[in-house]
Symmetry: D2
Subunit: 132 residues, 4 copies
């Protein structure tokens, strides 16, 4: 899967289109995606913080596409775990996912979300069921 | 906190407004929220499935407001865990959160998400930091 | 599976024998197990607290046997999540597991661990792979 | 904290002594610990597999001592998450923990457990409460 194919695959989902996700890199063992900021992502308007559910969504979806991009099979996320480290301020977010293990029945990917200053905002991992 | 106050508190967040969340019940140890369906929530258009990130968002936010509604203090989610059980088909989702423990430093709530047929779609729990 | 069969099944594992686990109840949707206290379980001798790894072990194994006892298929734990609520003081612990969902590929059980005063010490959930 | 101090600190816990843990390295951002095999660790005697609760214990405790060894403050684990990747066969296990974030209120460490062939058996992360 090349970057153009990854972007097309991401864009199948109406939620991904609403988020405006941009696939920016495919590594040997992972991928990078950029999320542009928009006001509807805000949790607390006083802080202008991005909602924790958006960060969780990024960790879920980026891990899944990392496994697909690296040749694994995925039908669905079965389990998701997110740790929140810092409040997300307005601006684009960079999401980097790395394969932990591609297995016959399940695969695992670890994902980190960074702000524009390269500060770690959230990190987590998803467990994904293989097809069949 | 009564139902009207809970709804007002939810509506402070632009993301919650975009989701169109409706607070429907406050119990002694939890709350219930309804999410109306909209097309931008879809993950896979072939299945019309609601995105796992949306389910994760519901588990995160509903647990947080359950703690607030039941008198606990919360500044932020620190950890979120979601298990996905079934594909979510189009239609409103019912989200029920129950307090596991309200603590001095952290509180925990468990949340379940059901479809219109009362099928369990996802369940999970959040750990929330107290103020101070 | 009756209580005697559950106990026999637990006793196959040398680690369970070392822990001295006693199966005490099978419910329609779960099981109860008692862990007797022993000094080797202690984490911090100043507090005489039971080690968090022991509580995690109880949540892992009790959920797995709950699924077996309720007719589900399990080959292995694939994912385990534990929240710690209170320091465990010396004395027997009561472990109660409840099925969240028995599925074709994976099953989920939620487990709570209580001390002798019925205080909740830890709670969590395991995701278990089915055979085949 | 040097290696001798880390070993002394580990040996305060009767459970760690029973496990026979050996601190082998302190890195800038983490630590390494070895667990020798013993028969009481076995889950399924037919496979001679090490119990998932033991792997969870290693991820819990090694992450906690990584934060201590790297200058963080820890009073207790508040949340633990473990993914199981492969069945653990008899033989010593190598446990490597890496700091994800040291915070004022909570810290996070990620830990991997390897067998003698350097195969990844389990990985996970703990969230640890700071003192005060």
């Amino acid at each position: 899967m090349n970057l153009e194919q990854l972007q097309k695959s991401l864009d199948i989902s109406p939620f991904h289109c609403w988020l405006g996700l941009q696939a920016t890199s495919i590594f040997e063992d992972g991928i990078e995606i950029i999320l542009p900021w928009r006001e509807e992502l805000v949790s607390n308007p006083a802080l202008q913080s991005t909602h924790g559910g958006i960060l969780a969504s990024l960790i879920d979806l980026s891990g899944l596409y990392a496994i697909l991009a690296c040749g694994g099979s995925v039908t669905a996320t079965t389990d998701l775990h997110v740790d929140y480290h810092r409040t997300a301020i307005p601006g684009p977010l960079t999401v980097r996912s790395k394969i932990v293990k591609i297995g016959r029945k399940t695969s695992t990917a670890a994902t980190e979300v960074f702000d524009g200053n390269n500060k770690l905002l959230a990190s987590g991992r998803g467990l994904y069921l293989a097809a069949g």
